[in-house]
């Protein structure tokens, strides 16, 4: 494995290879809950939290599966861990803030099928990251996801007041914005060095 500094891993996961804008992971919540700034921020927080937990669990599972020589169980066990973490977060939010629970709505249980989370677990396994690297990687990915979500939400709030032709409204418009954002994120490629 090539020696990478932790700072580089973080920048790489959050900006250069942003999960939403470069890897296209987590597009469903990205299109779904990016209408309002407040929901977007909280969704980002929830996703980052699930990412962190599942990334640590995935590390343990990978070690265990390698030990008992059963790599074909990897995918199934990862998804089970993610699903249970999401369930936990859901109960937690429901208890702590019913208002937030309502505003996230169907997208909360759908975090389970957020590809970004499974993506983090799979990528860190294939890159062979250790404990610290995995945590930093998951944090970077979560930060990048939140950043993309908040940026889009801000732009969409502004566009509420713009006059847009009827056929462009909705998903097509969001995708255009995402494309332009993705272009501008390519500028971060130079940071890699």
């Amino acid at each position: 494995m090539k020696e990478e500094s932790l700072w580089y891993i973080f920048i790489n996961a959050s900006l250069i290879n942003n999960f939403v804008l470069a890897y296209f992971l987590g597009i469903c919540p990205f299109l779904g809950v990016s209408g309002k700034m407040e929901t977007a921020t909280k969704m980002g927080g929830a996703v980052t939290f699930v990412m962190l937990i599942s990334s640590v669990c995935a590390l343990g599972i990978h070690a265990l599966l390698t030990a008992i020589n059963a790599p074909f169980l990897q995918l199934i066990s990862y998804i089970v861990v993610i699903a249970s973490t999401v369930q936990l977060v859901e109960m937690f939010i429901k208890k702590m803030s019913p208002a937030l629970f309502r505003s996230l709505g169907i997208f909360l249980p759908l975090i389970t099928t957020n590809c970004a989370i499974l993506g983090v677990a799979l990528f860190q396994t294939s890159k062979g990251y250790g404990f610290v690297e995995s945590v930093v990687y998951a944090m970077g990915a979560g930060a990048g996801f939140t950043l993309a979500l908040v940026l889009i939400a801000g732009l969409r709030e502004q566009l509420e007041f713009a006059e847009v032709p009827g056929i462009v409204k909705g998903t097509a418009l969001t995708l255009f914005i995402a494309g332009i954002l993705s272009l501008s994120f390519m500028g971060f490629a130079g940071l890699g060095g």
Partner: protein
């Protein structure tokens, strides 16, 4: 297999099949399963392979979910569906690796990520859990083909403009200046946005014509 199933309950199941192709097309109309759609549609070949793999998983999981629909308790149904889907995705992953290592490399982690394709889970929950095996097969075939078709459209446009080729065969003359942006992530967003735009326009025209 198709014809026999269509024969058993003739009218309804052909409708199940056709709706996935256009009226309820998973990508263009329902906007489901976008991650693989955007991520692996940089060449037509990749897009087609991904579409077929997804269609296979969709078909198998729909069959199994429909067959077990009376045995799965309501409380744990989503978890059970995910387990069923994950099993078939693992099978597909190993099968693709056995067929072509190159293809497996170029699709990368996105084969494993079929597990979290919202399209498959939503068909299991919304259709297969409530319908007979025959109708679920038709639904899966329609949705699978519709998904593959949409993915192929996107992949073909991006490869044609971004690389000047189709399935790796050069189409345009040599002095064609490739639009690099189409191969990059941003190109995926733009192409899909334009396709959705076109479909919106067509559907509005149809509505106006009906009214």
């Amino acid at each position: 297999m198709n014809e026999r199933d269509q024969h058993i309950n003739a009218t309804p199941s052909t409708d199940e099949f056709i709706k996935g192709l256009w009226r309820d097309n998973p990508v263009f109309v329902q906007v489901l399963g976008m991650c693989p759609v955007l991520a692996v549609s940089n060449t037509a070949g990749n897009a087609l392979a991904m579409g077929l793999a997804t269609a296979f998983v969709l078909l198998m999981s729909n069959i199994l979910v429909s067959a077990l629909r009376n045995f799965i308790p309501k409380q744990v149904r989503i978890a059970s569906y995910i387990l069923i889907i994950a099993t078939f995705v693992t099978i597909t992953d190993y099968a693709i690796q056995a067929i072509s290592v190159d293809l497996h490399k170029s699709l990368g982690a996105f084969i494993s990520l079929i597990v979290v394709n919202c399209l498959i889970l939503s068909r299991a929950e919304a259709f297969a859990a409530k319908n007979t095996i025959g109708r679920s097969i038709m639904d899966a075939l329609g949705m699978g083909i519709g998904f593959t078709f949409a993915l192929f459209c996107l992949g073909a446009v991006r490869e044609l403009l971004g690389n000047g080729s189709l399935f790796g065969w050069a189409v345009f003359p040599e002095n064609f200046q490739a639009w690099i942006v189409m191969i990059l992530p941003a190109g995926g967003f733009f192409t899909l946005a334009l396709l959705l735009l076109g479909i919106n326009a067509i559907q509005q025209k149809q509505k106006q014509a009906e009214a």
